[in-house]
């Protein structure tokens, strides 16, 4: 209450009423639902002590799971940067039958419950599935291996690059490309020298968002991953396992490690977005 009061004294005057009420409700609800529970999480590993925390996080199995979650997400985000970039390009620049349907379909990973995505991907990429059966003679096993984790993490990050890139590509003025073409640049040269620098901030933002989403992903990954300790076990699954063993401190240590990484990511994304805004205004 004193917070809202002091804030309302410091804000610029406005004729619109309801500042104290709406800000008060917002801050109260935010604190109860998000901030206090998260603080509880941050405080929990304290009982382990500094060394205890690192002993949990640097344990072989935990480290393997963390590196799979982060490494796999990075790889998946890179795949999405390239292929998602192509999808965005095709959707904005070309006209082909069914374009609007394809455009709507891109958001499927946002709308499809992750558990459904998980069992569906497992069914398609299992050795007896539609694609798994085609890959098996080539000696490639996707489902129930680390490759399966990569497929799930790619699926979940698919819309981010497309959706961040689309508006930027739409706003891109054709004049610069025309000028480059008139001056004798090849199509590829003008893409690398003219288009890419313009869309790079958005491309990186989308990639970072896809990465951040994939790191914490659980539902779509656990069905297609083999969940073998040290090899195909993702970090969120290890949190669940520790919780089932009532090792709350251990579970929260992994959670805090992941949260710390997510914070750094959020910071990076914010900086990227600021760069993007500065670019489009400058």
């Amino acid at each position: 209450m004193t917070l809202t009061l002091s804030l309302s004294l410091r804000r610029k005057p406005s004729v619109i009423p309801g500042f104290g009420l709406t800000l008060g409700c917002t801050v109260l609800y935010l604190s109860l639902v998000v901030l206090i529970p998260l603080t509880g999480l941050l405080l929990r590993p304290v009982e382990l002590g500094w060394h205890g925390f690192w002993r949990v996080v640097l344990d072989g199995r935990v480290l393997a799971a963390l590196s799979l979650s982060f490494g796999g997400s990075l790889l998946a985000a890179a795949i999405n940067a390239v292929l998602g970039g192509i999808v965005a390009w095709v959707l904005v620049r070309y006209d082909f039958p069914g374009r609007r349907l394809v455009d709507a379909l891109v958001d499927l990973p946002f709308a499809l419950p992750t558990a459904v995505a998980g069992i569906a991907l497992a069914a398609v990429y299992a050795p007896n599935g539609w694609i798994g059966a085609l890959l098996l003679p080539l000696g490639i096993k996707v489902a129930f291996t680390r490759l399966g984790v990569l497929v799930a993490l790619t699926f979940i990050g698919l819309p981010f690059v497309v959706r961040t890139l689309e508006p930027v590509l739409q706003d891109l003025d054709a004049e610069y490309e025309e000028a480059a073409a008139t001056l004798g640049a090849s199509r590829w040269q003008s893409f690398i020298r003219v288009v890419l620098p313009e869309i790079l901030p958005a491309l990186l933002t989308g990639t970072a968002l896809a990465f951040a989403r994939a790191v914490g992903e659980y539902g779509s990954a656990i069905f297609i991953a083999g969940n073998m300790p040290m090899s195909s076990e993702i970090a969120p699954l290890l949190i669940v396992i520790k919780l089932e063993e009532f090792d709350y401190a251990g579970a929260s240590a992994i959670g805090v490690a992941m949260l710390g990484a997510s914070f750094l990511l959020l910071l990076a994304i914010n900086l990227l977005q600021r760069w993007q805004v500065a670019r489009s205004e400058g």
Partner: protein
């Protein structure tokens, strides 16, 4: 739009490059989106229509459907009201710490779903801060419906707010200020000016919020006790059936959830189209 299309043709790619890029894009979406979606329905109907229907009218499945609807019916309105409050405060006033507040509202998006469930277990679980007190008073949050609702609220927290804040910021304050100066009360201004202006954005946020609330798996899985017919939402029921090797059952319930996803996507496209035509009408 047509004009700019043909302008671009002047600097466009050669036909084979264009064809290659389109097939790459469609191939990628086909492999990762269309095939998995189709497989849900194929697997659900693998043994015919009768087992499919039986899996859906199974009492446990019906209980899961009811629980999912109940959880969404609580979580979505909570977050919608919050979204309206937050966007009013952020869009209509200037105050220090505003960008921090907006960042904090987005926070649940960057938290793993499993961690979102974990935070409530740490607070209300048997070994949590309030666990012993809750047990002494026979209040069940973790492994109960309250825990599922809380975890769902956490996960879907930013959806409505993040749609409304940029929209209301863009719409500015002049209309509200005019209404107030003409003698409208705050409540009248909200119902007659702000809400009609923001209605498509609100609907859009509610739609996405609802899809996530009904489909959430990770967070809910941590706080649900996995008690059949009692604390299983639809996604958790799918997992249970799948782990029991009842694939037809799992994919049958999953097909309902993917139907929800398809309806959501259709409504979303309709809203976007509606929104755009409203904007164009406003501009003209």
């Amino acid at each position: 739009m047509k004009g700019s299309m043909s302008d671009r043709r002047a600097v466009g790619e050669q036909a084979w490059v264009r064809r290659l890029l389109v097939s790459l894009a469609l191939g990628y979406l086909g492999l990762f989106l269309v095939l998995p979606l189709a497989s849900v329905y194929v697997e659900a109907l693998a043994k015919g229509i009768a087992p499919f229907l039986a899996a859906i009218v199974d009492p446990d499945a019906l209980a899961a459907i009811r629980l999912t609807l109940l959880v969404a019916a609580i979580a979505v309105p909570c977050n919608a009201v919050f979204g309206l409050c937050a966007s009013w405060a952020v869009a209509k006033f200037d105050f220090p710490g505003k960008s921090l507040l907006v960042t904090l509202i987005d926070l649940p998006f960057s938290v793993s779903p499993v961690v979102s469930g974990l935070v409530y277990v740490l607070l209300f679980g048997a070994h949590g801060w309030f666990g012993p007190w809750l047990q002494a008073h026979h209040i069940k949050i973790i492994f109960g419906i309250a825990g599922i609702v809380l975890a769902t609220i956490f996960v879907t927290f930013p959806f409505v707010a993040r749609e409304l804040i940029p929209l209301m910021q863009q719409q500015g304050r002049e209309e509200e200020e005019a209404a107030i100066l003409l003698g409208a009360s705050g409540r009248q201004t909200f119902w007659r000016v702000t809400l009609p202006n923001a209605k498509w954005g609100l609907l859009y946020g509610v739609l996405l919020c609802n899809a996530r609330a009904m489909g959430e798996f990770g967070a809910v899985s941590v706080v649900s006790g996995h008690i059949r017919g009692l604390t299983l939402t639809m996604p958790l029921h799918v997992e249970l059936l799948y782990n029991e090797y009842d694939f037809v059952g799992a994919f049958s319930v999953a097909s309902l959830l993917s139907l929800l996803a398809l309806v959501t996507l259709t409504l979303k496209s309709l809203l976007e189209w509606r929104f755009r035509s409203d904007e164009q009408a406003g501009a003209a």
